[in-house]
């Protein structure tokens, strides 16, 4: 009973932001499509809608913890049930958003192929795996792309959720240390050390790791699907370890 109510509550809680996000995306897509068809003489390209969804899901993950956690504890829901319902909600949301993005993709692709204005729609999947044109409009490719986005969204949401949980569990000084230390370490100290001490070997190793994990050079989206799944499982386990001992802060 509790898990059903917790699932329903958390899903309803996020519904409004998802609707607002897609309204903005729809308006932007229509606006840019109309602009490029009517005002661009050399043709134009629209891309990266899935990136927008990924960023939105990352932010949603960041903003998702505290309010539902408090509300559900108030209503006699255990942390175990909070976590389970949160997982189900994440899966539901990312699945639905992957479906919506697929619909957007099909509509945009159809529009760009029917229009003779030079308007091109390029998805993130096509960009990563450098598929070239024209797009091979096969059912299996659509399914593959859908699974790719679904798993990518799951992993990205889980990153945001874990970050917010880490910050929730840390004390004031810990938050300052992590909030300032991690960006400074990653984006200032590491590149400087890499450049002067390691002859860029660290950045190459990171690049190679992501290339391998996402199957970019090998044009292997299955590698990315496995990596996203593994990342989602690990991030979720870490989130559970933090959530199971989370308390109502004063």
């Amino acid at each position: 009973m509790n898990i059903k109510a917790a699932y329903k509550y958390q899903l309803t809680d996020r519904k409004r932001s998802i609707i607002v996000f897609y309204c903005v995306i729809l308006i932007l897509t229509i606006f840019l499509g109309v602009m490029s068809v009517n005002f661009s003489s050399e043709g134009s390209m629209l891309s990266g809608m899935e990136t927008a969804t990924a960023i939105f899901l990352f932010i949603l993950g960041l903003c998702t913890f505290k309010e539902p956690f408090f509300m559900l504890l108030q209503n006699g829901v255990s942390r175990k049930t909070i976590f389970k319902s949160q997982l189900f909600v994440t899966i539901t949301i990312t699945f639905i958003m992957a479906v919506i993005d697929k619909i957007f993709f099909i509509v945009d692709k159809s529009f760009s192929s029917l229009s003779n204005s030079g308007y091109i729609y390029l998805s993130l999947y096509e960009q990563i795996y450098n598929m070239g044109l024209p797009f091979a409009n096969t059912f299996s490719l659509h399914v593959k792309m859908f699974i790719f986005y679904f798993l990518m969204y799951l992993a990205i949401f889980a990153i945001g959720y874990l970050i917010t949980l880490i910050f929730y569990r840390l004390n004031k000084y810990g938050r300052i240390a992590v909030g300032a230390g991690v960006p400074v370490g990653l984006f200032i100290i590491l590149p400087i050390m890499d450049n002067f001490l390691f002859d860029s070997r660290i950045s190459h190793a990171i690049g190679s790791f992501f290339d391998f994990a996402l199957g970019i050079t090998s044009h292997n989206p299955y590698a990315a699907m496995i990596s996203f799944t593994v990342a989602f499982v690990i991030l979720s386990l870490l989130s559970w370890l933090l959530l199971r001992k989370a308390v109502v802060n004063a």
Partner: protein, 282 residues
Amino acid sequence: MKCIEVKNVNKSYGSVCALDNICLRFEENKIYGLLGRNGAGKTTLLNIITGRIFADDGEVLIDGVPALENDESLHKLYLASEKTLYPENMRIRDAFQWTKQFYPEFDAEYAKKIASQFELNTGKKVKSLSTGFTSIFKLIIALSVNTPYILFDEPVLGLDANNRDLFYKLLIEKYSESPCTVIISTHLIEEVSSVIEDIVIIKNGSIIKNESREELLAKGYTVSGTAQNIDAYIAGKNVIGVESLGGLKTAYILGDGNLDTPDDIEITKLDLQKLFIQLTNS
């Protein structure tokens, strides 16, 4: 057995001991007063019972079953806490609807009825409520939720006299119609003394009294008179406190006062608030 059982619970915040080996039993269908000074550990105890925070040691059983992370046990409790855990942007009527989802026994019609008695606008958002109305909002849900155990932490915080009176009236009405276990943690002892049946007094994280109100108040008496007479009378007696005003003196004594009281000394029952102050001073 149907009860909330707190077994050997300890809780510390750094070097501060908030609860020290607490053992308690809140029995079925009784109204308890959980009394203690600021920082005595009342809120910590209620938060541990409802699983909002964790004890360092010990456990809480609800109807004989460990409550920790147990949905079924937690579902039997409702805590109207001082801290508001409802989303700031949630409207009161939506909070009622969601409470119904989590607690199917929640009586939404009754909640609406008493909301209008308290003159609470259910179209308002939680964040727009004053301190008093925020307390009222939580009280309404607690009075309508129909769980076997209802816990109130400082329930009348910010309420005016009329609303405090209405709350106690509704609580007694509700309890008479459908008895349940009620635990009221409060500072306003005088107001709540007529409502509670059993008293738990907590001091510096330890339970110093846990008995029925009648028993507790029958264990002592108050004597007042001239300082000289009172000083003579209380010599050798178990005095828990003395107050002086001008040449008059009042003493609070544990024991039976009907046996040897001289005529020039006035003897009255112990007053709960006075007793509480004497027990928890120092």
